[in-house]
């Protein structure tokens, strides 16, 4: 980089034969800048996809691969998204990271992957979520737990 500056000084002193090499070096620098920003931007897009897939809290092994500025970008993006979702429908809020697929049926078969204790559904019945137990539950109740990894949708 500093050689470029040096050459620029030479140019202003009137040594015209260095101009092509200056131009070439400038093009190389621009190309390097483009490659770097493209790489960094692509990483950002992947991190953004993580927010939509995993939710607000990233798993530790993913966070390990991110640098401090990326973590900051992620938390800022989370905040922007959250305030946008809160503002929908005149202050009511709508979580648009839910409902990713069109609803096929009202109740779904789920298998419990971890112990989660007791779970109450709308009509008052309480279900005990033990590991490996299977239940037939309303879809909208399970969606949260499926994303957290507590329940697993069983498709027969």
């Amino acid at each position: 980089f500093f050689k470029c500056l040096h050459d620029n000084e030479a140019k202003s002193e009137g040594r015209a034969e260095l101009i092509p090499s200056i131009k070439l070096r400038h093009c190389c620098l621009l190309r390097n800048q483009r490659c770097l920003t493209a790489y960094l931007y692509d990483r950002l897009l992947r991190i953004r996809a993580l927010r939509w897939e995993y939710g607000s809290v990233l798993p530790a092994n993913v966070r390990f691969h991110m640098c401090a500025e990326e973590v900051q970008w992620f938390s800022q993006y989370k905040k922007s998204l959250a305030s946008f979702m809160r503002s929908l429908g005149a202050g009511e809020g709508l979580d648009i990271t839910q409902d990713m697929k069109p609803p096929k049926s009202l109740y779904i078969e789920v298998r419990c992957l971890k112990d989660h204790g007791e779970f109450e559904i709308d009509d008052g019945t309480v279900i005990l979520l033990k590991k490996n137990s299977q239940h037939f539950l309303p879809r909208w109740k399970c969606e949260q737990l499926i994303r957290q990894g507590v329940l697993e949708h069983v498709m027969s």
């Binding site: 960094l40 500025e69 900051q72 005149a90 648009i96 009202l106």
Partner: protein, 224 residues
């Protein structure tokens, strides 16, 4: 199913003093149109925040009604399905708008800044805030990680040039709702022959988005 829906909804709209009193069925049809158009269009379309707000109000009313109905399980589950479907449509609509905003953020902000006073707005105020925050966030990140370590003349990136523009020449399927005459379809060849078509009502076509873009925003065609 929409009969059951309008039964519950008709008492809401009766003493509502809004400019356009629509039945819930019409409202959902409008949402579906907006959703499909937004999904299949390559660029961000006009903002339909009044539809979004009305639908959200509708959803809360429906959920409240559902809480009241304890027994009569069959009707309740049908309503519940309806609520789920509407919520999915609304979420999908908002998601595709947000994705387009993020993908084309400098161009979207530029368009919003340069639109005239009377022109309809492209972004809702919340979307505009989101877009600005996204821009600032990304710029801060790039500066902090790479650009500040570069020589002084390379420390900025022109976002308008760096981020690709939406491809308006992509082909889209459309259905014609109102009859249109003399739509100019310019050929790609060098000889400037004008190729003009008439669009019959109810017909379906596959055309370049650029030629029918104004028709989409006026509602004369529906993207499918």
């Amino acid at each position: 199913m929409s009969d059951a829906l309008s039964d519950d909804g008709s008492d809401i709209n009766q003493d509502e003093s809004q400019e356009d009193v629509m039945t819930p069925a019409e409202l959902i049809a409008k949402l579906e149109e907006a959703w499909l158009n937004e999904k299949f269009s390559p660029e961000l379309l006009e903002n339909r925040s009044e539809v979004v707000e009305c639908v959200m109000e509708q959803l809360t009313h429906m959920e409240a009604n559902l809480q009241r109905v304890k027994k009569g399980d069959a009707k309740a589950s049908i309503h519940r399905m309806e609520i789920d479907r509407i919520r999915f449509m609304l979420s999908s609509y908002l998601r595709s708008r947000l994705q387009k905003i993020e993908k084309f953020f400098p161009h979207v902000l530029e368009r919003e800044k340069s639109r005239g006073e009377g022109d309809p707005s492209l972004l809702s105020p919340e979307e505009f805030a989101f877009a600005k925050e996204y821009y600032a966030n990304t710029e801060t990140y790039l500066k902090a990680v790479a650009l500040k370590r570069m020589p002084p003349n390379l420390q900025t990136v022109d976002m308008l040039k760096a981020v690709p523009e939406p491809c308006l020449d992509s082909f889209v399927f459309l259905r014609v709702k109102e009859r249109q005459e003399n739509i100019l379809v310019e050929p790609e060849t060098d000889d400037q022959r004008e190729y003009v078509v008439d669009l019959e009502e109810g017909s379906q076509h596959l055309m370049r988005y650029r030629t029918i873009a104004p028709l989409v925003s006026s509602g004369a065609v529906q993207l499918i």
